[in-house]
Symmetry: D2
């Protein structure tokens, strides 16, 4: 029943999330999760209009009730036999950069709420569907992919909130790779190291070549590459940066 | 006013915390923080009886009100001019090891609550005191030391709760080292890789030599070494394990 | 002049090297380098028989004269305008595992000779051809890919020879990625973490599932993925292991 | 026969090596190895004049005959029962920084010759003496300490020679730590991340505070700390940088 295999993307916005959704929509119905419907409405329309299938669900990924409700809707939409070919966690907490002593508790936990608790809730909701995908003999190994950042491996000054969350996310992804790899689920972590080319960053790096920023489509292409890797050669971690990046 | 320099230890129990408190009590009045008074009462008595000075304060390190109250007590006890020579964060969340899909949200966040939010609250409360220690020209650079574990750099299967917290703690410590090193505070992170020799682990590794477990006093000795390093040669990270450890 | 774009593989044997050569032969003429002609003769015949083009050149990769001679042959074969779409360094020194105090100087330098000096000589010979590939506007960014191992990031007991070489290789690849990425060459390092399924390992892991070993074709597929990544999203490092691997 | 315990320092120059020799000379007779006698002559005189004991031996650490000759002299000087309390490898190859394609083979192997082969030869010569130190019940665990650099964990552009050597050295030190820790020898690796304050760097960082460079004495102090750690809490790796360093 391959028709029930879906791809679920959390953290759909104008950048990586949307590009990943478009890419995977060529193969699977896609579920778009974002807190703000504005982030998925036109994208869902676009995918549905292009012959694909997409549904958007407004979800607060760090709230268990909201996540539960989202996955009930998924089951209602695709039936109780629904399984997942891919689940991509692309959400990030509010980005905070300021002197440590000016951080409020809420500032600091902004990173952990999404990249810690949110990633946990998303993983717990999607892994049963991914395992069902394994059982059903999906063409490619079901994949759970997490979007990391430079801050996943570097705690810069004044960035403890974002870095704590991203470090925690990396720990989760590695632990899950070790537990669920042997069960056939491909768990990966991508370190996105550089500026992504999205509307918000349009004015950045203006003196650099046009492809000095990461293309969201390029990232989506790599996520698809990860998904199609044979299970005898699973990548856990990959780092991605523009060719021109200083690192 | 060197007499107002104190050492503050969070996470005082029968192992590292107590040994660190004893070690630093030879030089400074020590403040012992633990949720359960049983963890510091006899230790405070011992230190006070040996000519040192110690006070214990029951504190829930992941609760901002409890932390605020603790630091008000410290100021009441030592006066508004109190400053810190050392602050050691040795608390750990409840250790959870079970199949990921059996983890409750509360299980998962147990690690992040203490190693994430708790470490943030402790850092935010102690850094102003450590900076005051710098201003007052403390003999050794004021030090903020975090206790890590194997799980600080390795996300093992079924250990996502503990590892997420410890990864987050490492990120925080690195970010703080970069921000507060230039201000004269020595921020360090110790990766404790192995079994610590405490009552709870008495029955472990029984066939191994007596010193096959990390001695809490040995760890305390290293923390003191870190504290006394000259500021031209600050260590951020050190890994510690028994000579016989497989790694 | 796309017809002059070739792929060059050093360290062709029955495993990864041969699989990579077959994979890239579908797109480019391939040059097979190995010390022993037995390692490339039947492979070259196979590729040439299947409509591809392959030449084998007996080369001692750690000897500069031998490497020079090989690249003169490449130029003679493909013309002075020859350029490279891909260069894959897959050679490894003699594997030595024994107690450190029993290692001879020759044992120890076996790793460094190939993974250090050999990789240097190969890089120096291929980078000018890869840069020419950039100038000529090759379809995919010219790629220089190095094969690493678990020992690239772990110095196990009794494996200092192999690990020293592999650590050195990783340093070289990272340095080259930083220098030649901005010039359009995609430099990558793959950490192959597990047993590769080749004739020599046939008897290993016999109780495990058939795909418990890394498939050489799977690795070749990933190398091709790396080669086809857009230059706005270059991966430097990727780790690959069988889904069932303990790590 | 504790009187026969010596400390051996390879790579004695005006910086770390000399400071380490002075520090350890307070406890042990020291052997100073350097290629150029100018690097140890005045230092040996100074130590001998201050009530310590030092001998200098002109040694090319990457040449096995030269190393053999040096250790024969050590045995001649201190008797066949000589053992070692500490051996510090502080040598570095010629530092080369230039565009990769301008590197000669000799440029590239400059790093590996000293940090690879040289460190191997030094380890092979000193480990038997360190193991004898263990047997004789030295007060502190005999220590084999390697001096690393930023380049031990980072392959910067145009620095492949230096970085390859330093990565290889780190691999060696980790492998030895795993093999010889259980035999009682403490093997450590110090990542020196910053500019060391020596005559050659006098003009560097002139606008920064006086202690913006690593003090060689501070490094020596940390090496002594490592040597005196109890074997239940051995550090393998420590990173050291000035408080003001950007990293």
């Amino acid at each position: 029943m391959a028709s029930k295999l879906v791809a679920i993307v959390a953290g759909v916005g104008p950048g990586t999330g949307a590009a990943v959704a478009r890419k995977f929509a060529a193969a699977y119905p896609v579920v778009l999760l974002a807190r703000n419907p504005e982030n998925f409405e036109s994208l869902a329309k676009e995918i549905n209009g292009n012959g694909g299938k997409a549904i958007g669900i407004s979800t607060d990924i760090s709230d268990s009730k909201s996540v539960d409700a989202a996955f009930e809707k998924i089951e209602k939409e695709f039936g109780p036999g629904v399984s997942a070919a891919a689940a991509v966690f692309n959400a990030s907490g509010r980005f905070v950069r300021k002197p440590f002593l000016e951080l409020t508790e809420e500032d600091f936990t902004a990173g952990l709420d999404v990249s810690g608790k949110g990633a946990f809730l998303f993983s717990k909701a999607t892994l049963p569907l991914l395992l069902k995908g394994v059982e059903q003999g999906s063409k490619y190994p079901p994949a759970l992919i997490f979007t990391g950042a430079t801050a996943s491996i570097r705690g810069s000054a004044q960035m403890s909130s974002f870095a704590s969350g991203k470090f925690a996310l990396r720990a989760l992804s590695q632990s899950l790779a070790r537990e669920f790899g042997p069960k056939g689920v491909h768990v990966s972590h991508a370190i996105i190291d550089g500026v992504i080319d999205i509307p918000r960053t349009k004015e950045w790096l203006k003196d650099a070549p046009a492809d000095a920023k990461l293309s969201a489509d390029g990232i989506a292409e790599v996520y698809w590459q990860l998904h199609t890797q044979h299970r005898s050669t699973f990548a856990w971690e990959i780092d991605l940066r523009p060719y021109i990046e200083k690192w």
